[in-house]
Amino acid sequence: MLGRIVLHLLVLLILSPLLPGVIAKTKALFAGRIGAPLLQPYYDLARLMRKEFIFSRTTTWVFLAGPVVGLVVPLLAAQLMPFGGLGASLSFRGDLVLFVYLFGLARFFTAASALDTGSSFEGMGAVREVTFSCLAEPTLLFALLVLACGADSLTLNDLLGPALAGRWHSGQAASLALIAVCLFVVVLVENSRIPFDDPNTHLELTMIHEVMVLDHSGPAFGLVLYGAAMKLLVLGALLVRLVLPLQTGHVLLDLLLLVAGLVGLAVLIGVVESTMARLRLPRVPQVLVGTTLLSAFALVLVLR
């Protein structure tokens, strides 16, 4: 088990900054540019770690708690999530609820540290983050319910275990496809990607996640970026495992499959970001309620 935990940590710590790099490269290629190098996020993190802090005089210790919790939570949640065919390193009945609520804790502190600055822009970002997430959460749980319907166990490891491949070939394929779409939307919302949020916009009024971390600087901002990349990897692993339920039984091959799946997901996100405009903010809740209904429909299909 200890080996598993270390493996999960290594995958997470080493691979996660690659995904934003792949997304940026894909977008650059779509726009006909060469773009920043694939490893740019690593350079950014290294540079931020060397920089100094600047604090607003309004802030308190809560301001630093946001990045800290935002980094620790994905590290823990990753232990519950099966990484492709590698399986989860910790698994117990009901771990899926803990998985969802750990990210809730990270959201609480990220939003609180945004409000700690007293800036109305960051307040706006905090509201949008908690509003959209509380609409995305039922979708995520409906998806988990669909997965739990066939499996006779309540651990993420078994829901996304070897039996999943067989379910794609049974009558449940339509439901699984529907929740795959819903989970893709959840991944986009939770990681603030277009069409829900534009991480590269330069107008603070329209941002969600970026505006919450406007005042973070130096290593604290590095932790924010690192935590966000890890969150993308952990939630992405859920989707990749759902769509690619292959298992070779060989550690290296499984690892390669996982990386390939994650890079594929990053490319897909890049394509979506290049080909879609971002939604108007009032539209976002409507889309999210729509995906909740879609996932409820998938559940009905399974139960029928």
Binding site: L98, M124, P138, D152
Partner: protein, 654 residues
């Protein structure tokens, strides 16, 4: 042991009496506090004994017809009594400085008298095994609650809140009289029937009466009308007692009542599950729309009662379908959430009281930046906020996790008739997400940012005698969150007290993963502390002279910060179909707009939107009817006499 319990009970119940002699000076309140603490210690010993071994029972003759003084302490009662004792003790200590006799000479003695009385009455109620004793204690509790709510009876909104509470609680008491009269007919004595001794056939009326009577006290959604006003009107430590403990007596009544039956009809479980989900979602949605911190916390009580009712509903469904795993998860989630809500809601009320004490206002928008001036209060409030949002590593997560697992668990039996009970899972997720949003709002607006008023800028930390009770409650929250297995034996015994079946091996298996949940909680706490310490050390020398980045605007003012209403607005709009928030003020138009005002107000869904208009309409109709009938024409009156006589004659002939 029994003697000690009764001794502690009497000490608590009479704790306010000696203080009546002192109009001035603080001897009266010190005596009160000492007596309450001594009483709580006296009760703790038998309680601990119950947790370890079996229960206690005391039977004495009572000079009331059909009354028989039967007290019994079993594990089910113990799960309700343990948080009660802690909250009572913390509140009494907190009240020393929060409501000192020197500043409140007019009502301090009254407050302490009824504080002790309601605590004692609740203890008797939770121990009583005789219907008459139960109802007596219930009524003493209800009336003492009225006097606690109307502590400041010179204010008209306080009197109004007390009046609504008085009506609501007596509607509840009335239906409880009916319930126990019917139950007495059923089993031939006014003593509580044995666990699982009654057949459920034809007891639909009983369940309806219990739901009305107990649900009114608990504050389930359409019956919650008295709750927001009452909790806002009472002094904070009395609100903590009312909201943290008193409303749970309604849940206790429902749990105890359902334990009498050997077979549970499925519709009982479905009803509670549906009511719980509605209370949960609408309770938290109404909470987001509030500006008054105590009203907001009161609506969160409605939400948490909803979660508790969902747990009980799942347990009842498990009983009706014969699924012991569901019974264990649902009921232990329900009971644990009762205790948890008692702890974190009192913690939140006490820390809100500490804010009100120093800022002098209950309005959330009058705070701001208080974490710098009230470091400890802010920390305790943050802990309570995380716990009530159901986030790890605090206790709220543990009980919600149990109920979640019950909701997921119905799927494990193929083609189960209970499959729809899994809709409790997305409902809980929505409630959790909304509660998180609401507490980010309260904590952010009150404690973070810049002070919005002069009072907030001049705020000061509360004295240690107010901080220690909060610290104790936060420790209890952390304890349950990080050592949940320490409560396993008590919960398992309570479940077997409820079902009447001896504890079986499946019980342990269902609660076993709690150990790993707690382990991850520990890693989370340690990880956050280590990384936080590293970041803190790295940033210790960083400059703190600059202002917040205003996106180019150079003259930001505290009034420009996000307020409670602007924070809640996007969520309130989503629930506009149910909340019907009223917005006053015009749009800002043109390049050089005039001065504009904006305000928003969300009246209660049932009381202000439903009952007030309904009763006003009835009163207006009856008024018109009276004017029509009593029109001053003598001939008409003679005509009524003739009409009545004729009617009576016909009646006699029939």
């Amino acid at each position: 042991m029994v003697g000690l319990l009764v001794f502690g009970l009497v000490l608590i119940a009479t704790s306010g009496v000696p203080g009546l002699a002192w109009r001035r000076g603080d001897s009266g309140e010190r005596l009160f506090c000492g007596q309450v603490l001594a009483g709580v210690l006296g009760c703790l010993v038998p309680l601990a004994a119950t947790a370890v071994s079996g229960g206690l029972r005391l039977e004495l003759p009572w000079a009331v017809p059909a009354g028989w003084l039967v007290l019994e302490l079993d594990a089910l009662s113990a799960t309700f009594i343990a948080p009660l004792l802690l909250v009572v003790a913390c509140g009494a200590l907190y009240g020393l400085r929060y409501w000192p006799q020197a500043e409140h000479a007019a009502n301090g003695r009254k407050l302490r008298l009824f504080y002790g009385l309601i605590s004692g009455a609740m203890l008797v109620l939770l121990l009583a095994r005789n219907a008459l004793l139960f109802l007596t204690a219930w009524e003493i509790m209800a009336l003492s609650g009225y006097f606690l709510i109307t502590t400041e009876d010179d204010k008209s909104d306080v009197r109004q809140a007390g009046f609504i509470y008085l009506i609501a609680t007596h509607i509840g008491t009335l239906s409880l009289f009916g319930l126990f009269a019917l139950l007495g007919q059923h089993c031939g004595s006014s003593d509580f029937p044995l666990t699982a001794s009654l057949p459920a056939a034809g007891s639909g009326l009983l369940f309806g009466l219990a739901l009305l009577g107990f649900g009114m006290k608990a504050g389930l959604m359409p019956l919650h009308i008295w709750l927001p006003g009452a909790h806002a009107a009472a002094p904070s430590h009395a609100s903590a007692l009312l909201s943290g403990v008193m409303i749970k007596t309604g849940i206790y009544g429902l749990v105890r009542f359902t334990s009498f039956f050997a077979h549970i009809p499925a519709w009982w479980g479905w009803t509670l599950l549906a009511l719980g989900a509605v209370s949960g979602v609408l309770g938290v949605a109404l909470a987001i729309a509030q500006h008054d911190i105590k009203r907001l916390l009161a609506y969160h009580s409605v939400e948490n009662i909803g979660i508790i009712a969902m747990g009980l509903g799942l347990a009842l469904l498990g009983r009706s379908a014969g699924q012991p795993a569901l019974v264990v998860l649902g009921l232990s989630g329900c009971l644990l959430h009762v205790a948890n809500h008692g702890l974190f809601k009192s913690l939140l009320f006490l820390s809100a009281g500490s804010v009100i004490h120093s800022v002098g206002s209950r309005d959330i928008d009058h705070g701001g930046g208080l974490l710098k001036r009230q470091r400890w209060t802010g920390l305790f409030f943050l802990g309570g906020a995380i716990a009530i949002s159901g986030l790890p590593p605090f206790n709220g997560f543990i009980s919600e996790w149990l109920i979640y697992l019950g909701g997921f668990g119905v799927l494990e039996t193929p083609s189960s008739p209970l499959a729809f009970a899994m809709l409790s899972v997305p409902a809980l997720a929505l409630i959790g997400g909304l509660a998180l949003a609401c507490f980010v709002k309260v904590f952010g607006v009150v404690f973070l940012g810049e002070p919005r008023t002069d009072a907030a800028a001049r705020a000061h930390e509360s004295p240690p005698s107010m901080l220690w009770p909060m610290a104790l409650l936060l420790l209890a929250c952390g304890w349950i969150g990080l050592f949940p297995l320490s409560l396993r034996a008590l919960l398992e015994r309570a479940v077997s007290d409820w079902t009447g079946a001896p504890a079986v091996a499946t019980l342990s298996a269902d609660l076993a993963p709690l150990g790993l949940v707690a382990a991850i909680g520990w890693v989370l706490v340690v990880g956050v502390l280590l990384l936080g310490a590293w970041l803190h050390r790295k940033s210790a020398t960083a400059p703190r002279e600059v202002g917040t980045w205003g996106c180019g605007y150079l003259f930001p003012a505290p009034r420009m910060q996000y307020t409670a209403s602007s924070f809640g607005d996007s969520l309130v709009r989503l629930f506009q179909f149910a909340l019907r928030c009223e917005r006053h003020g015009d749009r800002v138009e043109g390049l050089f707009p005039d001065k504009q005002e904006f305000s928003s107000h969300t009246p209660d869904l049932v009381l202000d939107r439903g009952l007030h208009p309904l009763f006003s309409a009835i009163a207006a109709f009856l008024g018109r009817l009276r004017r029509r009938l009593q029109n001053g024409i003598v001939a008409c009156y003679l005509f009524y006499v003739v009409l009545t006589l004729t009617g009576l004659l016909v009646l006699v002939r029939l």
